[in-house]
């Protein structure tokens, strides 16, 4: 008997195949990276190249959920649209019932609960997306959370999802430092994305969130960050070369 057809069936060795296949779909999506600093949170995404006749403004990968909470996803874009809308309604619901802004964990928990529900009931397929949820809590602490198709969620200091996310995550593990400042966090986000995005600034989008608001650096700012990164790389290469020649 094939154990990967109906959703609500375990395989004999304890797998939910549909969930694992959904995680495969996530691995095909474009990369997104999140970095949590002391007073800022950075979201970086790999932008899919727009086809010639396409209006690239309608290809949003980062969505706003509430005043200071944002979400980026990797995987099936249409599934993301549905989940993002549910989360937006839940944020307003929270404000209506308790007259306070939701915390990042609250909305993450809600999204994860929805994703889990679709792995256990209703005969539906799971959402084919992992999400990075970033923002500031009402107490002004920066937060980064991740969900995946199985419905788990974890808090991270820095993480990535989508294609080549393993490469990016290893890069982050090597280069992330606690108490990273805003400018360094932006540089780290761009640097880690450059590991997997070949074509440079026009395929990278960054979102910077602080307790006072958010901004999207324009392509000029990203290009200047890339220039700094490349200059540093050249310096490193020169140092290595001179060390080799002298020893």
């Amino acid at each position: 008997m094939s154990y990967d057809r109906a959703l609500t069936i375990f395989s004999p060795d304890g797998h939910l195949f549909q969930v694992e296949y959904a995680q495969e779909a996530v691995r095909k999506g474009t990369c997104a990276v999140g970095i949590c600093g002391t007073d800022s949170v950075i979201l970086g995404v790999e932008k899919k190249a727009a086809l010639k006749l396409q209006d690239s403004r309608t290809m949003r990968k980062i969505h706003r959920l509430d005043d200071n909470i944002f979400i980026a996803s990797a995987g099936l874009v249409a599934d993301a649209r549905v989940l993002v809308d549910m989360a937006r309604v839940e944020c307003q619901n929270h404000r209506l019932t308790v007259e306070d802004a939701p915390s990042v964990e609250f909305i993450t928990h809600y999204i994860a609960a929805v994703q889990q529900r679709y792995t256990q009931s209703g005969g539906r397929r799971p959402f084919g997306i992992s999400t990075l949820i970033v923002g500031f809590d009402p107490d002004n602490s920066p937060k980064l959370f991740q969900t995946d198709p199985s419905g788990i969620y974890y808090e991270w200091k820095a993480n990535s999802i989508g294609r080549n996310s393993q490469t990016v995550r290893e890069f982050l593990e090597k280069h992330y430092t606690e108490d990273i400042a805003e400018a360094d966090a932006i540089k780290l986000a761009v640097k880690s994305l450059l590991e997997v995005v070949q074509t440079g600034a026009k395929n990278i989008e960054i979102l910077v969130i602080t307790k006072d608001g958010h901004r999207t650096p324009d392509i000029g700012e990203i290009e200047s960050v890339i220039k700094v990164i490349e200059a540093e790389k050249a310096e490193e290469a020169e140092k290595k070369a001179s060390k080799r020649s002298s020893s």
Partner: protein
């Protein structure tokens, strides 16, 4: 016995409400803000049945906010007023109608014009240059009818507001110690103190 009125010019609106919350013969609160911000450029002042006022307003405010988040664009004042009126009308012939009187004041970024909508508890709506709800309207319309001109400036409008305070003080049964005065224009919403007039 609440005071609620507003005056709109070409590119600004002034909204005025009193600040008392009364229960039977007791003044429960004397610094209540009876306006609700729907979006940075639109607000509504609400009076009527206690409970219905906050219930209805919070519901409308939540839905207007949700629209902004979903569409990365605010609902214009006219759209907010029409949506609000629709919800009032829907509730009207249900078991639970809301008893609230509303003035929606705002500045439309796209048309560059300010607008004011008078909506009563029966969900009748009218787009007007100036308006008032409650007993105060019997006194204030006389003042506003006489003084208002369509090309009014903010200074003149605030002058009319002062005249409205004077007639209420001299002829209305209730003495209002404090008012919430808000101005909306292209730069957003700001609050003025009565002393600043």
């Amino acid at each position: 016995m609440e005071a609620q009125f507003a005056i709109a010019g070409k590119d600004f609106v002034v909204s005025v409400t009193d600040t008392s919350v009364v229960h039977s013969i007791v003044k429960m609160k004397k610094n209540q803000d009876k306006t609700w911000q729907l979006s940075p450029l639109a607000l509504m002042s609400v009076s009527g049945e206690p409970g219905d006022t906050s219930n209805f307003s919070e519901y409308i405010q939540g839905n207007v906010k949700l629209y902004s988040v979903r569409n990365s664009q605010d609902l214009s004042p006219s759209e907010s007023a029409t949506f609000l009126r629709g919800e009032l009308a829907r509730a009207l012939r249900s078991r639970k109608p809301y008893q609230v009187n509303i003035l929606v004041a705002g500045y439309d970024k796209n048309s560059g014009e300010a607008s004011l909508y008078w909506i009563d508890y029966l969900a009748a709506m009218a787009k007007v240059p100036y308006a008032a709800h409650g007993y105060c309207s019997y006194f204030l319309y006389s003042v506003m009818d006489r003084e208002y001109t369509p090309d009014i400036t903010l200074e003149k409008a605030l002058d009319i507001v002062k005249k409205c305070f004077e007639v209420l003080k001299s002829r209305f049964l209730i003495d209002f110690p404090e008012f919430t005065i808000k101005v909306i224009d292209k730069d957003g919403t700001r609050q003025l103190a009565q002393a600043d007039l």
